[in-house]
Symmetry: C2
């Protein structure tokens, strides 16, 4: 099994790559992980220019020698290339698995809309740099290599389609050519480093969009590293999400084991 890594968003580093290679060698000796040289480019905020990031993604996605495409990290930048890159993908790209989260959600969204069958929200190579990150990387590899059930978010319901996104990312793809049809889906949401008033505002936006009102429900993952609100917002992320779900008539289905942390579990898109 061969996994290609590309970085459609922010800059990625060789130390994370080395850690991932060490984890893979120790735990999944049959696995070959190929970091595309684009991962290590730097252009302003991004891992290379828009053309370089889109080019690398299209190249490995269309290469039948790879079984999976793993997004190196989030940050910012995938929305600048997703629509154009997805438009250049051929049949070999459709057979692959794609794994990532956070800013990579723009790509997962567009690929899901385009009918790609093997997409998942879950840990990325950059998570190797976290405390406890080895477990996150191993979890991702166990899903990529073996579709291990142990890697999965434990609350996924058999027979029901799911999707998972960062709250801010999902909000900022609504109405665009990347927005997937999530009618009947359980949507798992998480966020990081957003003031609570921003999360409240994004949930207004999400829950007020007609598409979101066709969801089967929302489950809330972790919102971590929330900066202090001035003045105090007075509500937790769960109170915020419950508030907007109630107002929009979207069932709130409880918490979820996803987030910007080492315990981030894998959520395959569609019916598990």
């Amino acid at each position: 099994m061969r996994i290609a890594v590309v970085a459609p968003s922010s800059q990625f580093g060789s130390e994370a790559a080395a850690r991932v290679e060490a984890i893979a060698a120790a735990r999944f000796p049959g696995l070959e992980i190929v970091f595309h040289p684009q991962c290590f480019l730097a252009h302003n905020h991004f891992a290379g220019s828009d053309a370089a990031r889109a080019g690398a993604l299209v190249e490995v996605a269309n290469d039948p020698a790879f079984d999976a495409l793993w997004f190196a990290r989030g940050g910012y930048g995938a929305c600048r290339i997703a629509e154009e890159a997805i438009g250049r993908l051929g049949p070999a790209a459709r057979d692959k698995a794609y794994l990532g989260y956070s800013d990579a959600g723009y790509l997962l969204a567009g690929l899901y809309r385009a009918g790609f069958p093997n997409l998942a929200h879950g840990p990325m190579p950059q998570d190797a740099m976290r405390s406890g990150g080895e477990a996150a990387v191993a979890r991702a590899l166990s899903w990529l290599a073996e579709r291990s059930p142990d890697a999965l978010e434990p609350g996924l319901e058999p027979g029901r389609p799911h999707a998972a996104f960062n709250i801010t990312v999902f909000s900022l793809l609504l109405g665009t050519p990347l927005e997937p049809d999530l009618a009947g889906h359980v949507l798992l949401l998480e966020d990081v480093a957003e003031h609570m008033y921003r999360t409240d505002r994004a949930m207004f936006h999400i829950s007020s969009n007609p598409a979101a009102r066709r969801l089967a429900g929302i489950r809330l993952g972790r919102c971590s590293e929330v900066p202090d609100n001035d003045p105090d917002f007075g509500e937790s992320e769960e109170e915020v999400v419950r508030f907007w779900c109630a107002r929009a008539g979207i069932p709130f289905l409880g918490r979820a084991a996803i987030g910007h942390d080492s315990d981030n579990r894998v959520v395959p898109f569609g019916v598990p």
Copy 2:
């Protein structure tokens, strides 16, 4: 002429109110400005609970004794009450002028969608606290009291409809029941205190929405207090907006004299 002030978003203070009253007394002696007691309430992030903010807005908007409704300040919170409050407005509300910007854009958007004829993006009472804020307040009052042409953004084109919004606010009302039809409009945009990557992402969202692609064009106001991007974003706000306009086929029509500052000029919604 009687102007009512309510605070649909963040907390407002008595010092700003006193400054506004002094400016009005000195420059517009015929004008009566009534600060609704709700302006001075505090509930978490907001100038009172959602019910208190919506109630005050509906009360003064529906009161024929007032000629205009002036939003006290931005911050955050108008999106939580706008749809419900606008639904409770009667005929006396429709005759009034409404003035504000920033977070008040949620209300201007919903009111414009509802066909209210006298809406404008421009300075608010809180601007009295800025350096040079007296000029901003006097400009707002000269528009409210006299529709002074000197108050207007100088680039408004006769015969063409206009609207003006904060970039983040406009992005986060797309697809909601507050989104107005801006087909054929020149849209003036500004922002404050957003990292450049956030402005880039919001412009992706705005320019990728089909509604925005029906605009006559976009003019860019000021983006102020931009926090340092890490790493440096490498593009200015004008480069960012030009990039997304070009990609979406939206004419970029130059800069605009609006922003979170004392030089913020008035932009009436619709044909000037």
